[in-house]
Amino acid sequence: MDKYLQTRRLSWRYIKKELLGRSVVTACGLFIIILTLFLVFFIASQGIDLFKDNHVSLSHFLFSTSWHPDRDQAPQVGALIFIVGSIVISLLALALSTPFSVGLAIFMTEISPGLGKKVLQPAIEIFVGIPSVVYGWVGLSLLVPFIRTHIGGMGFSVLAGGLVLALMIFPTITSISADTLRSLPHHYKEASLALGATRWQTIRRILLPSATPGILTGVVLGLARAFGEALAVQMVIGNTIKIPGSLLQPTTNLTSIMTMDMGNTVMGTMWNNALWSMALLLFIISFSFILLIRKLGAIGAMTK
Amino acid sequence: MTTRHTYDQELENLRQDILRMGSLVQMAIHDAVQSLAKQDVELAQKVIDGDDVIDKLEIDIEDTCMLLIAKQQPLARDLRIIATGLKITTDMERVGDHAFDIAKIAQKTAKQPLIKPLIDIPRMAAMAQKMLQDSLEAYVNLDIALAEQVCRADDAVDDLYNQVFRELLTYMMEDPHTITQATQLMFVTRYLERVADHTTNIAEWIIYLVTGQRLRKK
């Protein structure tokens, strides 16, 4: 009887199979860590040069609107305009799309689930997948002329950027909100209705509050996407290096200036370094969004 | 098709045990009365010895019923089968006891000749036995009509009992020497009357088993 339980005098194939597989997948995990650390290190080291080598002060970079990197004497690399541009356009996009997103999420989960599942959900998913250049292209060829002729200004404007971005992040927020609403235990609704609540009362008092962390996660993700989006925005905001005075004025943002100038400037120059500092800033911002999302996720998990 | 094979098997075993106990008891009454009538001491002894088997069977059946209740959460008819099993074994065991008592008397009376050939007592025994047999059959076939017939038959046994009782009383008065034996025979008739009573009880339980309705005792 002992023969069964005894150690099979270690079959090498067995060990190899077990260990090999394990090592390979572990290596892949480690690879991701290394890759990320490398990327972060890379961006950070590039981004820091501006302050280290070019002795630009952080406050100048962050709070000055003076952007003259091409001046031969005393070039100036204040990035405030770009930062403000990014913020303004992203927030505008968020403000435009969030109500619609949440509204649609409610519509497709609570008001007309049939339509929601069969038509809206696939449509939304397709829209998540549409490449940003297509959005940019439509913005450029449809939205910009429309604004120019019907609303005013040159067409290239904060409004155009905001609208294009809103369109882009709309499906993201919607689908995350809808997922959250859908994943709410069905019985919340039943319980509320069975107590004699109307549908709207149920939505407002039970469903929305319970879904808030999830919806916020969607909003933050949308915001992150808006912040990091490059091509679509760049195509429609006009890229005027100026803090916009109105929604109809053009402006620029972090990603646009990076796309336009990064390739054209020489590594190691102050100008190029300033662009990398913007990349670092962008990275820091998107990293903060992650932390925010994690926090929201933890809150969401608590209410489940 | 049922899905509770084991359970059904166990219920069937229970039924078989009850029937076996029934026939043992019936046989015991028959033998006891025979041993009395034929002054057959050995037969009487056999009945006396057989009582243990019956007693043991009662305990087994009771245990089975208990385990079935514990295991199977019986409801409705299953529950009635088990409850009936628990109850009628008491009656059957009592009938067995009476057979034992009669056999004891048979052994005592065997020493002297009988004061008269026994006619009515075996008749009574036959009636009681028939009732027992009918109730067992009613149990097997869940035959309410037959069970009701058993209940009615009790009256005839009671009548016969009264008749034999008076007769024996007369004997005793006429001839005090018969007193000892006559009193014994009196008890025998009394026992047989009780047997019929118990059998009536059994029949009533069978009616309950089938219909779920308890008959009010008369």
Binding site: Y188, A194, G196, R205 | M1, A76, L79
Partner: protein, 251 residues
């Protein structure tokens, strides 16, 4: 007897499928009616027709009538929202809202317009007492209801119902997700509640039906096969199908 609910020739279709076949049953006031039957026989469906929770399903079509205190609940003039207030429902899995215990109970009164804090406090205490939960939770009314045990949650759900002062309680397998001890507690509670409410309860547990109910209805394939006093159903059912079902045997 005094009937709280009278169901007359009720038929219910899911699309073309007839899920309830001419159900007729009178439910005695302040009694517990247990509904038993195999899975999919229509117990939950029947339960939900009473407070019109089936309205949420689009394909549902209903014929016949259900009278609550003599009033047809399917009459076009009936206010469904008010109906559901009168006919409360407890579900299979405890479904507290992700809020504090207090807010759970206060939810109903609030949606029905009660906003006076003092009144709400009163209602909360009364309802929790009614559901035999007050002593266990009175110290932590403001903590989340999700932190309660399953059995406590289910009693909380009952308390939440009581807070809107229903007349009828519908319970769809209220104990099937609970452990034996919690089950016992709910059963005890149901026994107490029937003094004030009329209760209809679906259960898969025969013994539970036998324990807590006064009347029992046996459903099979959308039909009400047998309906009788509980004691009778479980010791001497009249219909063979009932017998087979409750003794665990099927055709």
């Amino acid at each position: 007897m005094d009937y709280k609910i009278e169901v007359n020739k009720l038929k219910l279709y899911y699309g073309d499928v007839l899920a309830l076949k001419k159900i007729t049953i009178n439910i005695v006031k302040n009694s517990v009616l247990a509904l038993i039957g195999p899975s999919g026989c229509g117990k939950s469906t029947f339960l939900k027709t009473i407070n019109r929770m089936n309205d949420l399903i689009e394909t549902v079509k209903i014929e016949g009538e259900i009278l609550l205190d003599g009033m047809n609940v399917y009459h076009p003039n009936v206010d469904v929202v008010m109906l559901r207030k009168r006919v409360g429902m407890v579900f299979q899995r405890p479904n507290p809202f992700p809020m504090s215990i207090y807010d759970n109970i206060a939810y109903g009164p609030r949606i029905h317009g009660q906003s006076n804090k003092g009144k709400l406090d009163e209602i909360v205490e009364k309802s929790l007492r009614g559901a035999a939960l007050w002593d266990e939770v009175k110290e932590r009314l403001t903590s989340s209801a999700m932190g309660l045990s399953g059995g406590q949650q289910q009693r909380l759900c009952i308390a939440r119902l009581l807070a809107v002062e229903p007349e009828v309680l519908l319970m769809d397998e209220p104990c099937s997700a609970l452990d034996p001890i919690s089950t016992m507690k709910i059963e005890e509670l149901v026994t107490e509640l029937k003094d004030k409410y009329t209760i209809v309860m679906v259960t898969h547990n025969m013994q539970q039906a036998a324990r807590v109910s006064d009347f029992t209805g046996f459903f099979l394939n959308g039909e009400m096969v047998e309906y009788d006093k509980t004691d009778a159903i479980f010791t001497r059912p009249q219909d063979n199908r009932t017998e087979d079902y409750i003794t665990g045997r099927f055709g």
